[in-house]
């Protein structure tokens, strides 16, 4: 039992951070955010670079060109993506790797939808994963020009770097579109999607904490760094608590993949991302309210991710339902269920 990333995992995470610093530095984020509407064309060169770096193929077997790694590793690199506010349908393309041609290499852009609502990057996508049926289906949309178009109304997205499309109706299950995914099917992919989205929220929450602490150290008001004020200190302390609670939860969920752990991870990471961005903004005062700072981009992306895959209410219901299966169900690790409790004379 060791919940900490091992050396290889830490190196993988550091590598992804370096790659993003090189290929998607802050200036690129700002270019994308500051561009006049409608947003810039989808950056396919960056997508390919991410593919080459293995972001999408990470979990494919080595024989299929992947790195043969698991969800814990995927979580760590997605934390970095969330930290850098990397745009694009990262989760869907990652899930499509090995199933949709070109996804693993970053040659194809794949988005996903599991219910009517907002779909990200629909026009730029070559394919759409449909996860609203027990089995997984794929629409080949070819960047909006394919024959299997998913009708969606473009909306002006609150997150300036994530174009959104309002999709009111999903296509019915069509067997010949079924993706060749092994047994787990759409439910498994939805859990993975929720987990990897939570990982990005965690990365964002950690980043806004860093930004808050940096600002608190350097911003002088009343003749001293504002980080000497207890109100600021305590705000930052609660940000750390949220981030660390989310971190242990997300990391553990990547190992157990139980419905309960996934929902806890999503719920707590959403909370950490949204509330840390809010606190970071508050701590920056007027500066935080300006477009030129990055803090609002974190807040807006966190609002977006909060709506994706599993919202708070849904997660809470999953977690509540898990409580009602027996007296030891509340205890996280499954092994306890196996025990025979009748001997317990004390209860």
């Amino acid at each position: 039992m060791d919940l900490r990333p091992d050396d290889d995992q830490r190196a993988l995470k550091a590598g992804m951070r370096e790659l993003l610093q090189a290929r998607f530095p802050r200036e690129r984020l700002r270019e994308a955010a500051d561009a006049d509407r409608p947003g810039p064309a989808f950056d396919r060169a960056l997508w390919r670079a991410l593919g080459e770096a293995g972001l999408f193929s990470l979990r494919l077997p080595e024989k299929d060109g992947g790195a043969g790694l698991g969800l814990p590793e995927a979580v760590l690199v997605f934390e970095e993506a969330g930290r850098a506010l990397l745009p694009g349908p990262l989760v869907a393309t990652h899930l499509a790797a090995g199933h949709v041609p070109g996804a693993a290499e970053g040659a194809a852009v794949v988005t996903a939808v599991d219910r009517p609502g907002m779909v990200e990057h629909l026009d730029a996508s070559d394919a759409v994963l449909l996860l609203n049926h027990p089995s997984v289906h794929v629409l080949s949309t070819a960047g909006g020009t394919g024959r299997e178009k998913l009708p969606g109304r473009p909306v002006r997205s609150v997150d300036p770097t994530t174009p959104l499309y309002d999709v009111r109706q999903l296509p019915p299950a069509v067997t010949d579109h079924a993706m060749q995914v092994a047994a787990p099917g759409a439910d498994r992919l939805r859990r993975e999607a929720a987990l990897l989205t939570a990982a990005q929220q965690l990365g964002s929450a950690s980043r806004t904490l860093e930004m808050a602490v940096d600002h608190a150290r350097t911003r002088i008001q009343f003749g001293r760094p504002i980080g000497t004020f207890q109100a600021v200190q305590h705000l930052c302390a609660q940000m750390l608590v949220r981030a660390e609670i989310a971190r242990s939860s997300v990391h553990a969920a990547s190992l157990t993949m139980t419905a309960c752990d996934i929902s806890a991870a999503k719920l707590l990471a959403d909370d950490a991302a949204v509330r840390n961005a809010r606190d970071c903004l508050q701590l920056h005062g007027g500066l935080g309210f300006s477009w030129d700072m990055d803090v609002h981009l974190h807040l807006k992306r966190s609002w977006l991710r909060l709506e994706q895959w599993q919202g708070a209410y849904e997660a809470e219901e999953v977690l509540a339902a898990a409580l009602s299966n027996g007296p030891t169900e509340g205890v996280p690790d499954h092994r306890f269920r196996e025990m025979d409790w009748t001997f317990n004379g004390v209860e």
Binding site: M1, D2, L3, R4, D6, Q9, P72, V213, A216, R217, R224, P225, G227, T228, Q233, H234, C236, A237, Q238, L240, V241, E244, I245, A246, R247, S248, S249, H251, A252, S254, L255, T256, C260, D261, S263, A264, L267, L268, A315, E316, E317, V318, L319, A320, A321, A322, L323, S324, G326, P327, T328, G330, V331, P332, D333, M339, F343, N344, G345, V346
Partner: protein, 389 residues
Amino acid sequence: MDLTYSPEEEDFRRCLRAWLRRTLPKLPPKPPPSDWPARRAYDCAWQRALYDAGYAGLHWPVDAGGQGATPTQHLIFLEETELAGAPYVGANFVGLLHAGPTIATEGTAGQRARWLPPILRGEEVWCQGFSEPEAGSDLASLRTRAVRDGDAYVVTGSKIWTSHAQVADWCELLVRTDPAAPRHRGLSWLALPMDAPGVTVRPLRTLAGSTEFAEVFLDDVRIPLAHRIGAENDGWRVTMVTLSFERGTAFAGEVVACCRTLARLAAVAKENGRWEDTALRRRLGRLNADFTALWRLVQANVSEAESSLRTGGDGVPGLGGSVFKLHYSQARQELYDTAADILGPHCLDADHEWTAERLSSLSYTIAAGTSQIQRNIIAERILGLPKGR
């Protein structure tokens, strides 16, 4: 990242379970909550049973009479005993988790031989004399004075929030031996026999109505110099060394207990219809997330402690304890506020177990460092913010 336990650890768990299964049904009934002598006897009998089975001082070093178990084994022990409904450490808390480890680390061979075995066998009970009425969050401002007189210190002052003082044999006492030194520098750590002349114990009633705590008044109490652990005026460091003995497991058993309480809350809510209230149900769901996460945080802290020990470190899991305590104390209060919500008007019945727990949960954001102090620690020591003024 890995949540599986090693074969040795699984073996340890299996043996422990088997032993608990054999042993617990034979335990006598729990004494009434307010009968402190009976509770002492019960807790000590349990400790003796642990001793006989080879579980006493699980996390103590072998050369101190302990089992030298890893933090993970200790975690398994706390998890399994809680799940099995075994007794809590109770009156032996200070001896096993604080005074004992302090003596094991800082005491002389003679001191270790005198004090450690009776703790492990459940023969001598310790209590803690640190806090004072005027020294709460600011412990280093304590005023109880010890003046040398021949081969003894003469100690005068008073201590507060001393649990089990009425039934304790010994008290780990932090006193000021050099009034002229800077606050943290002039303190010493003494072992006070509770039957020494001049010691008066006055029970302190808490808002929960319990009398677990006491004030201890010290009136020219003579304590032999030989009862000092560590060097004179080095008591602050000695005390802090001990705190580091907590290897991320401090509240592990309580988290497991809270998870089970949560399941019982759900069961009661289903019975009385409150489960149909969406808001209440989702609140229970959120608490499930919180306590699941707290359990994961315990595992992460234990992982860190274990890794630190493996690489020759001291096994102190960074400052994750502050993060854990801040969130846990709040979640525990929310747990019992939610319980009150489920009980409706019956939450006003002081005899309901959850009402008592709700009252006692109020101390969690105060005791062992208030939430405010924990936030200071996190801001300044973990996040490196400039020191507040």
